[in-house]
Symmetry: D2
Subunit: 450 residues, 4 copies
Amino acid sequence: MEVEIATIGGYEEVGRQMTAVRAGDDVVVFDMGLNLSKVLIHDNVETERMHSLDLIDMGAIPDDRVMSDIEGDVQAIVPTHGHLDHIGAISKLAHRYDAPIVATPFTIELVKQQIQSEEKFGVKNDLIKMDAGETMSIGDSSNVDLEFVNVTHSIIDAINPVVHTPEGAVVYGLDKRMDHTPVIGDPIDMERFREIGREGEGVLCYIEDCTNAGKKGRTPSESVARRHLEDVMTSIEDYDGGIVATTFSSHVARVKSLVEFAREIGRQPVLLGRSMEKYSGTAERLGFVDFLDDVGMYGHRKSVDRTFKRIMNEGKEKYLPVVTGHQGEPRAMLTRMGRGETPYELDQGDKVLFSARVIPEPTNEGQRYQSEQLLRMQGARIYDDIHVSGHLNQEGHYAMLDALQPQHVIPAHQDMKGFAPYVGLCKSEGYQLGRDLHVTSNGNTIQLTE
Amino acid sequence: MEVEIATIGGYEEVGRQMTAVRAGDDVVVFDMGLNLSKVLIHDNVETERMHSLDLIDMGAIPDDRVMSDIEGDVQAIVPTHGHLDHIGAISKLAHRYDAPIVATPFTIELVKQQIQSEEKFGVKNDLIKMDAGETMSIGDSSNVDLEFVNVTHSIIDAINPVVHTPEGAVVYGLDKRMDHTPVIGDPIDMERFREIGREGEGVLCYIEDCTNAGKKGRTPSESVARRHLEDVMTSIEDYDGGIVATTFSSHVARVKSLVEFAREIGRQPVLLGRSMEKYSGTAERLGFVDFLDDVGMYGHRKSVDRTFKRIMNEGKEKYLPVVTGHQGEPRAMLTRMGRGETPYELDQGDKVLFSARVIPEPTNEGQRYQSEQLLRMQGARIYDDIHVSGHLNQEGHYAMLDALQPQHVIPAHQDMKGFAPYVGLCKSEGYQLGRDLHVTSNGNTIQLTE
Amino acid sequence: MEVEIATIGGYEEVGRQMTAVRAGDDVVVFDMGLNLSKVLIHDNVETERMHSLDLIDMGAIPDDRVMSDIEGDVQAIVPTHGHLDHIGAISKLAHRYDAPIVATPFTIELVKQQIQSEEKFGVKNDLIKMDAGETMSIGDSSNVDLEFVNVTHSIIDAINPVVHTPEGAVVYGLDKRMDHTPVIGDPIDMERFREIGREGEGVLCYIEDCTNAGKKGRTPSESVARRHLEDVMTSIEDYDGGIVATTFSSHVARVKSLVEFAREIGRQPVLLGRSMEKYSGTAERLGFVDFLDDVGMYGHRKSVDRTFKRIMNEGKEKYLPVVTGHQGEPRAMLTRMGRGETPYELDQGDKVLFSARVIPEPTNEGQRYQSEQLLRMQGARIYDDIHVSGHLNQEGHYAMLDALQPQHVIPAHQDMKGFAPYVGLCKSEGYQLGRDLHVTSNGNTIQLTE
Amino acid sequence: MEVEIATIGGYEEVGRQMTAVRAGDDVVVFDMGLNLSKVLIHDNVETERMHSLDLIDMGAIPDDRVMSDIEGDVQAIVPTHGHLDHIGAISKLAHRYDAPIVATPFTIELVKQQIQSEEKFGVKNDLIKMDAGETMSIGDSSNVDLEFVNVTHSIIDAINPVVHTPEGAVVYGLDKRMDHTPVIGDPIDMERFREIGREGEGVLCYIEDCTNAGKKGRTPSESVARRHLEDVMTSIEDYDGGIVATTFSSHVARVKSLVEFAREIGRQPVLLGRSMEKYSGTAERLGFVDFLDDVGMYGHRKSVDRTFKRIMNEGKEKYLPVVTGHQGEPRAMLTRMGRGETPYELDQGDKVLFSARVIPEPTNEGQRYQSEQLLRMQGARIYDDIHVSGHLNQEGHYAMLDALQPQHVIPAHQDMKGFAPYVGLCKSEGYQLGRDLHVTSNGNTIQLTE
């Protein structure tokens, strides 16, 4: 059976991920993501109303025109988790394919919300929920299957999809950390990866996320970040002024830790900002967290302001607002607090906890710096870097190669500079460029078997 | 009563710390340290045989000639903890003063060993042990006392000494982290600091360690580093080859964690290298740790080599050698292992754990880089930065100022560039340069009361 | 005679420079500057309409309330050159003092323009032009004089003012480079500095600009930047598309080089943007440059757009637009060109020359990065760092100390971190902190003689 | 005709360059270089006595065993210029091939000296001199020619070799800067490159040096470095103590500038150190420079020391020693001067000029830092970065692609991380990875035509 990989997007950048696997006549698409930075560099762009071709020209969504060269039918669109760089182009591209969207429950919910907010295209694809550990048939041939293997990442309900073919398995390995003690959900299912590496024809191809391939050692477990956060928060237990925290709103496990330690130090947590409400609310409705009844979540400007006023009236020392703005985004809640545009007044000595890392790019760094300056001008004191990455460091990459023993490897989720350390790592394990190690670009296809 | 501070060493560098406090006719000296980098930049310098004047000229030990301008008698020499930059010049300078050396038991032991290895001078000063929480009288006047307050640092049995005078307390705050959950010993005694800030005349002067004054937030507890280390070590529990760890040999709490996690993953810990044996052996003899009978500690070259041979014979997978060389020092054990100069053979995939951070200076960075390169050339894979600092970040400085409310503040343990962020921090708390905030240099005196 | 220095502004930052020298009853004020970054961090602040007290609270202009403690009459306000951090607060503060503003002709013109644009205060102080090399009496006493010594900086007609007192000279050394082959004007007058250091009582006090005190060696001459620029521009002589250059609009010597090399490669230079027109127009009117008749300068939006349209019609290959925007300022001309908001269309391969360096601060770096990204997205290719600094490196500082041999030294034009390398340099020349080397803050006074 | 490229060495590093071009049955080898850092990381390695296989295992010289897969006869070995990373393995590898070494006169001289110092192998290959601009036939077929095109680099007499085949030209583009105003020799022959791009079948393949592919704009001409150096040296014309300079000893144009400006400021230049004598002496004998009779060059330790003694006797102010040690190499002359191991005594205020840039790698940075520290401890003051690179920045790469319009491009002289910016640049010019843009590794072959 012919097996072919089309590397459509996310092979020259982080963002707008999209990869297709053709096994005979059946095609499975992994991810349809958005490169948000290509949108934000322009003033006043509203993606909801834009046509996909304009977004392709901007480099914001994958250029899926290469799909017309793939001889086969798309049988499933499989977003691996709910981050925008993996699902953010579904509302712009999925309607072109007569195929269901298959994902884990939390991811499906986020896809559904995204489709609802789309104003240009009507996306009618079926939405099918499948849990980690489950498998479904692909196409009519009965010899191609899609399996979800549980992985751990900075968002809940993440999986690595596997397409089983008669030629071996194709494992799409994007976006995971090797967490054996996660805060929500099960540990990464390394046992299953090892089985896949050894059963049948083994692994024909592994597509890997190179984000941290240049970083030594092991990405710490989320439980290490949790312990760090606990150390910080209990150290300010006696402070009787304002404490504000920010983190990735999609990082529900981190939000859970913030909520729990807020209670531990006698403060009422409140989640503020549209995306805070969106992700944590969805997680609660689906049963991933149980924030009891009294964790407030407020997304609309008016209810946020009302909450801030209530906090100011009842006493800042009683609350822990968890807000958006960890990268210093100009319009996020925390930046507005720094500008004095909300009813929450910062006083000398108030604490602001960044449970996040600055994404290392000059625009972010400039905005985050400015946000911190504004907060400091109001008297706030900053705690930063209370965080661990969601991506594999080098030792995770070695462990994956060891578990899967793939015949072919394709680096992804970076540009070539980002691929370089992973290529070096693969070479040290015996792979060879141009033979079984494929450095590629957006818009290419790689034929693995004939 | 006249109270005067002489800032003798460590006010233009990290290293060769020395400060004197005169209260009336009585003088207490805090620390007599060594700036090791001023020694190591020269080839083949053996400090044991050198005269103090030559070492002063090299900038290696404090220039204590300013002491002749201080009108009073030295009543005590008080090293605050056992690091070389605080005790390393005692064997060169203490014999000039007719005064006992007063320190905590672990520190006294290290001072004793240092005096024994001295080859140039005979140091006959009395060695007096005093525990954290205890107080002794200074001189005859009956109104000057010396108190030890328990603090937490990257070495055990560290204290901050306080000289109580009728004009208020002088608190020497060097070298601590605000750790409420240390791995060995008691938490920092913040309650006592707050009392000192409020009793009697309060605090006349606070001398502070500015090492991390530019770092935001809070230095994490040693227990956070321990959790990180546990995450790393349990993740390689199944590895059946060599694992080697390195850390500061004086950091007994870290060594304890390494020893315990080694056992947890089924490996026998062995401590190798002269300074490993020295610090951990001393800690065990004094009862700070109980490494059971079977933790081997070997310092001499021959016994180290014999141990390595035994490990190679019995199987690398049974042992965890904890060795010197975390900074890539050219002659340390780990660097020699990288050069293939020991019987321990590294294989492809073996793990080397740096439970330490590179001290950010180009010489260290170059040496550490080279050491890692050598280890990698032999197949080793590096885990780095499994560490937390031993010094206060900004929030710790704010907390100390809040607890002590000192009338005067003197930044120390850095050069002026390092003082700068602490000066800014003090200004934000109302201190003013030249009035109650004293930026000074080696060899100056500051008269606080008349 | 009592001589006292008040360090009013610019001793904790770069920006809002202001220093007063009192000699007996007569006071001379050096500089009244603006810290623009404190303005720009806020949205929509218009300084023209703001009250000085609000600007002081923002940290934007010097807090001159300390002047009420100075017992003497201000006899002259002396801006040293026309940069905003030296003249930008004159329109907010000068009217409080019954004293003329004394400066070189180019600086006076810029001060005049600034006063005219002020909308809140009416500034009526006399404006007195004095050339480098000239001297005037201060006050009635006949023994205090003000002299201007010619220096070289990144703006023309810069001087270092000297107040001659019976106790010695006070030399205000801010903002210069030691340029022996400048592109416009005379070399720095080192001979006169050496004389001042040796005549009469010598130099009582030297106030020094520490901007580059941490940089090794010598700041190159403007003629080195000119040679570099020539190399770049002649290398693209044959390019038949668009070439655009940007530099500091106040840097008239650099603009002159750009204009001359534009002609050399057969292009018509045009200066675009309000501040381009302002500085170069002023320089031309005063005879510092002679841009012939055909160098267009256009400041108003409409005339700029009209010029761009003309360029597009006649052919981009015939012109070299020199525009504002070298730091990526969001509203500057070059950034607008990157956003496609001007009639000038960039094509694949067009060249953009940054004859400037990014001011190393995260906000600038982020904005500049974004501006370059936008330009690149339109096809432009970037040449950067065609520049030399306007401030003394270490060897210049040594040379000044050697020439002046001052009794006292006061570091300025930085915060304490920036003072640190200069303090080290002075120590190596025998100065001592607290004795004759004065590290100070905004709002302090230093009494030099009694 | 089959044309094939073997990328033997220097495709995963800078150093040990080696590439072979097969045209039909004839093979031309470009460069046989040494990766010196792989030698220096080991203590006490003497390459002169080592076998090539050991050096291959160390990664120090190219692994040319892939040559046995190339079906054809090596007709010429062509080192492009005299740097060690291009000629340093000739004495270890060339004797295996029955082919002459063809190079420009200066390069041939350096190859000859290298062969003479070899102690393990006897290298008997013919040495053939060919000048830039000349062409010779390769093999018997009469339709393959080798041409040398003049280029400009940081060593004199550098060329880019071109193999003309019936299928088009193969241009080997390593190691050049686009210098139109070099200090020695002719400007780069861009006219000939443009001709080659347009004549016959055009350019089949271009192999490019990616060293500076991530650097914006244009590498300045050597004449810009010369102007910078002049500015520095004339600024210290009046200094009456010691001035010492260091630069790459192979950089004869820079040495020439140093010699000339030394004279201009009234000092006698002397070149000290074995490699200083070697390169400048060779250049003088071949007529590239005319250092008159009185420029001393001394290589042997004894004559160097004698010279230093003479300088100390006659007065340091009369001489400018130009010495080795610009990277802080531990055994180089300047480092020894810093350690006080030579008769030349540095005094407070003496100047040390680094006409070189630190090669950005932690080992170098550490050693250079240490060397500067030692020099400063003796009173010296450092001038650094008086330098321009010898490699093309981005605009040079664009210009070469524009001139040659090659069908295929192969990035070289870096690892993959270093290739990445060049790959992006080629993509923006329409090349596509895997089609006509070949990212490869050491030991691969690329077949271009069949």
